[in-house]
C-alpha cells in the first residue's frame, strides 16, 4: 500500500521582493513498511520537503497524498489533525516539553486527540526501554534517553509514517548508533520511516536513499539493507 505519494511538489518562498524556488518539482512514493533516507547538501531543499511531507507546510504547487488522501489543500487546523494522527516526528533537537515528565510528553499527542493516553504512553515508553524513567523530566535525562522519549512520542499514536530529521545530529556516535538501532527495530515491526540526514553512514541503514539536489530528486539509490 502506498502511504505517501508526492507528485510534482513545488515550493516557493517569498523573501522580501524575491520569489525563491526551493523545491522545483519533487516526486516521491513511499510504500508501507519502507525505510527511506533523504540526503542532500545544504540548500537542496530537504528540510522544506520534510516539512511538506510532515504536513507542517503546504506545497505551492503539486499534489501530496497520505494514505490516498490529498492533504496539500487542507486548512491549518485540518493539517494539525493529520499531523497528530498520521505522522510521528522525531527532531534533531528532541523538542520535548521542559518541566514535563517523560510520560506526559509521550501522552501529549493523544491528549490533543482527546483519547485516553496513560496506558498507550506507558507501553510506548517501555518499547523504547524507558518505562522506568516515566516520571523524569527531560533535564534529568541524557541525550539518548531524550531522543528515545521523542521516538516514543512519535509512535504512540500509531502513525502512518515516522519522520526523523537528523535524529542523531545532537548525539555522540555511540548513542547515535543506539538510536538508529531503535529505528531499525521500528522498521522491522512494519513501521514506515523517512529519515533525513547528511550523514551517509546513517543513510545506509535505510533500504533506499533519495538524493536531493537543487530542489529536485537527483537519483534514488538502493542500499544493500535487507528488508
Amino acid at each position: 500500500m502506498t502511504v505517501i505519494r508526492a507528485e510534482g511538489i513545488v515550493k516557493n518562498y517569498r523573501l522580501g521582493e524575491l520569489d525563491v524556488e526551493v523545491l522545483k518539482g519533487v516526486d516521491l512514493e513511499v510504500r508501507e513498511g519502507d525505510y527511506v533516507a533523504l540526503m542532500g547538501p545544504s540548500g537542496s531543499g530537504k528540510s522544506t520537503l520534510m516539512n511538506i511531507l510532515g504536513c507542517l507546510d503546504v506545497p505551492t504547487d503539486g499534489r501530496y497524498y497520505i494514505e490516498d488522501r490529498e492533504v496539500g489543500t487542507l486548512s491549518d487546523d485540518e493539517l494539525a489533525v493529520v499531523r497528530g494522527r498520521r505522522i510521528g516526528f522525531v527532531f534533531q533537537t528532541f523538542n520535548l516539553l521542559a518541566r514535563t515528565s517523560a510520560l506526559e510528553n509521550v501522552e501529549l499527542p493523544l491528549h490533543y486527540q482527546g483519547v485516553p493516553a496513560r496506558r498507550a504512553a506507558m507501553a510506548a515508553l517501555e518499547s523504547v526501554g524507558l518505562g522506568h524513567r516515566a516520571d523524569h523530566h527531560p533535564s534529568q535525562l541524557s541525550g539518548g534517553e531524550r531522543q528515545r522519549v521523542a521516538i516514543a512520542r512519535a509512535v504512540v499514536t500509531e502513525p502512518a509514517i515516522i519522520l526523523a530529521d537528523e535524529p542523531t545530529g545532537n548525539l555522540d556516535s555511540k548513542t547515535g548508533l543506539e538510536i538508529l538501532d531503535v529505528f531499525d527495530g521500528l522498521s522491522k515491526k512494519g513501521a514506515t520511516v523517512i529519515l533525513v540526514t547528511h550523514d551517509r553512514s546513517v543513510a545506509m541503514r535505510a533500504q533506499r536513499i533519495v538524493h536531493l539536489k537543487d530542489g529536485r530528486v537527483e537519483r534514488t539509490e538502493a542500499t544493500k539493507c535487507p528488508r
Binding site: V81, L97, Q113, T157
Partner: protein, 412 residues
Amino acid sequence: MHFLRSFKVALTALAANKLRSVLAVLGIVIGVMAVIMMVAMGKGAQARVHENFQKMGVNLVFVYPESTSRGSSSSRSSMAETLTVEDSEALAEIPNILNVAPEVRRTYQVKYLNKNANIQVVGTLPSAVACRNFTVERGEFFEKSAVLGRLRVCVMGARAAFKLFGSIDPVGRQIQIDRKNFQVLGVLADKGGDTWGSLDENIYVPVTTALYRLFNRRYLSQIMLQIDRTENIDGAVEAIEAEMKRLHRVTARDEPDYAVRNYNEYVQASQEAAGALTVLLVIVACVSLLVGGIGIMNIMLVSVTERTREIGIRKAIGARRIDILKQFLIESMAISLLGGSIGIALGVVAAQVVPLLPLWSKLSRGGDWEAVITPEPILISFVFSCAVGIFFGLYPAVKAAKMNPVEALRYE
C-alpha cells in the same frame, strides 16, 4: 483536552516564572481589592447618611426667612427679620401638620462657675422634642408654662453639657447665658447628628425667653414643621406656601421673604450624592482593575514569545489553533481568578479593618464608619476578574494560536 488538565498545565507554566506571575496576579489583587473596598466604604457612607437623617427626624419641612430687595438691610438670611411667632402659630393650624417648632438662634458666651464657652443658644418650643427626635437623658424638657412665662430655664445638648460640666450632672444647676442666670432643667442624649450644625452642642431655651429676654428681637431663624405622613408632604408644602403668602401679604409679582423647604428632598439629594460618590469611587477602582488587566496582557505577550518553540512543538504533534488558544487563555484566566480570589478576601478584610484604624477616624472627623459587605459586589468582582483575564489574555492567545509551526520550531 480536559479543562482540569489544561488548568494544571497553566499552573505549571505560571510556576515556571514565579516572580513574573506573582506580579501579574498582584495587579489583579490590587484592582479587585480596591473595588471591594470602595463599594463597601461607599455603601457604608450611604448607610451612615441614611442613619443620620433618620436620627434628625423624618417628614420635616422648614420655613426660612429670605432677605429680599425690599426687606431688611441684613444680608444673611438667618438674620433676616421676617418670620414671626405668629406665623408659626398660624401654620400649626394647617391640617396634616403633626408638630411645629419655631427656632431662633444666636451664639452667646455661656458660663458655669469658672468655665465658659461660646455656645449657640436656640429658642424653641417643647414640640422640638418630637420634631427633632430628641431624647431627654436627664431631667426634663421645658413645658408650655415655661414658654408662656418666658422663664429663664434651659435644656443642654449632650456636648454642650460636657463642655461646661464635664462629668458633673448639670440638672438643677445655674448657668449664665450672656450674664443672665438660667436654670438647667435637663440634658439631651447624644445624637451624633453632624450633618449640619451639631445639635448636641446647643442649649435650648423657650422661644419666648429667647426673643424677649435674651436676644431682644422679634423674628425667628426658622420654623420647623413635622408632617404626619410622607404622602401628605407635598400637599402640606403647598398649604404652607399658601398660608405664608397670605400671612406676609405677598403678591404675585413680589419676591417672597421666606422660603419653604422639604427636608426629605434634601435627604434624597444627599443620598444621591453619597450614591454618586460610591459610583465614582468604584469607577476609579475599576480603572485600577483594568490596569491589572493590561499587566496580564503584557505578561502573556512575553510568555507567548518566549514559548514560541513550545508552541511549534505542540502544533507539530497535533495541536490545532483552538488548542493553543485555550491553553493560553486558561493561563491568563488562572492569573486573574487567582488575583480575584485573593483580592476579594483581602478587600473584605481591609474594608472591615480600615475604619477601625486611628488614622481613619482622624480623616473622617470622628465619625463612626462601618463598611457594608454585601454578596453582590463580591460576585460581580469575581465575574469581572474572569472577564478581565479573558479579555486581556485574548490577544496574546490568538497570537500564539496563529503561529506558523515551521517558523516556531526554528525559533531559538
